[in-house]
Subunit: 116 residues, 2 copies
Amino acid sequence: MTLGSYLRNVRERHRERDRTYSLRQVALRIGVEPAYLSKIERDVVPPPSEGTIRRLARDLEEDPDLLLAMAGKVSGDLQAIILQRPQLFADLLRQLKDAPDHAILTVVREVRDGDW
Amino acid sequence: MTLGSYLRNVRERHRERDRTYSLRQVALRIGVEPAYLSKIERDVVPPPSEGTIRRLARDLEEDPDLLLAMAGKVSGDLQAIILQRPQLFADLLRQLKDAPDHAILTVVREVRDGDW
DNA sequence: GAAAGTGTGTACTATGTAGTACACATGACA
DNA sequence: TGTCATGTGTACTACATAGTACACACTTTC
């Protein structure tokens, strides 16, 4: 599914419970023109900026990382983390590329409870 | 150190051994105008594209990930890896943000020799 | 049946990205 | 001493990004 159609779905589901989730009102709340949000939801324009996606995520109670991924973007804070130690994280990510989810989850937990 | 001054240093070190590492010849080999490479090395222009940085890295025998990081860019292939499983890798990276190098290296090795 | 609210089409804009093209002054070298 | 190569200044360009502004037709709602 594309970012646009996903956003439209999520917004319309919200709207069933809450009348303030019209395209215009959401646009007003996140600070863009209604016409622009309309185009975003129909994938008529390329995905908006990271900031706009984050404000959308907040308003629609969605995971920003997921929406950003649908937009083909990697969160700026993750990029910053990688840029601190580019070679280290490059190795790690390439190593984990084909690892199954549960293996990565294990690593995440290991590090969280880590005693390094 | 900036990308530009770093590149100039590396190129000039190459040049001591190999006369073909003039700005003009490197520019010719990597396929950009000499004037442009000159500006890159003096940080007069913003960092070039990922492709151009990679060609520079190849010509100067430098680590592309390092040069890209100096340019404030994250390698496209790493972004692609993250975009496959954005939430999983987002958690992992934020978890590892402040971990010491050796802890991350341990993880890298663990995964490499991993028996998952 | 008028007012208010809804989504959308068209036109336009400002800024950033990623360079090219050419002229010029200087230095090496044969 | 003329040629050739070197680095650089100036001007320009094409395309992408991230939107705004306004008019319009349709639908509720009162």
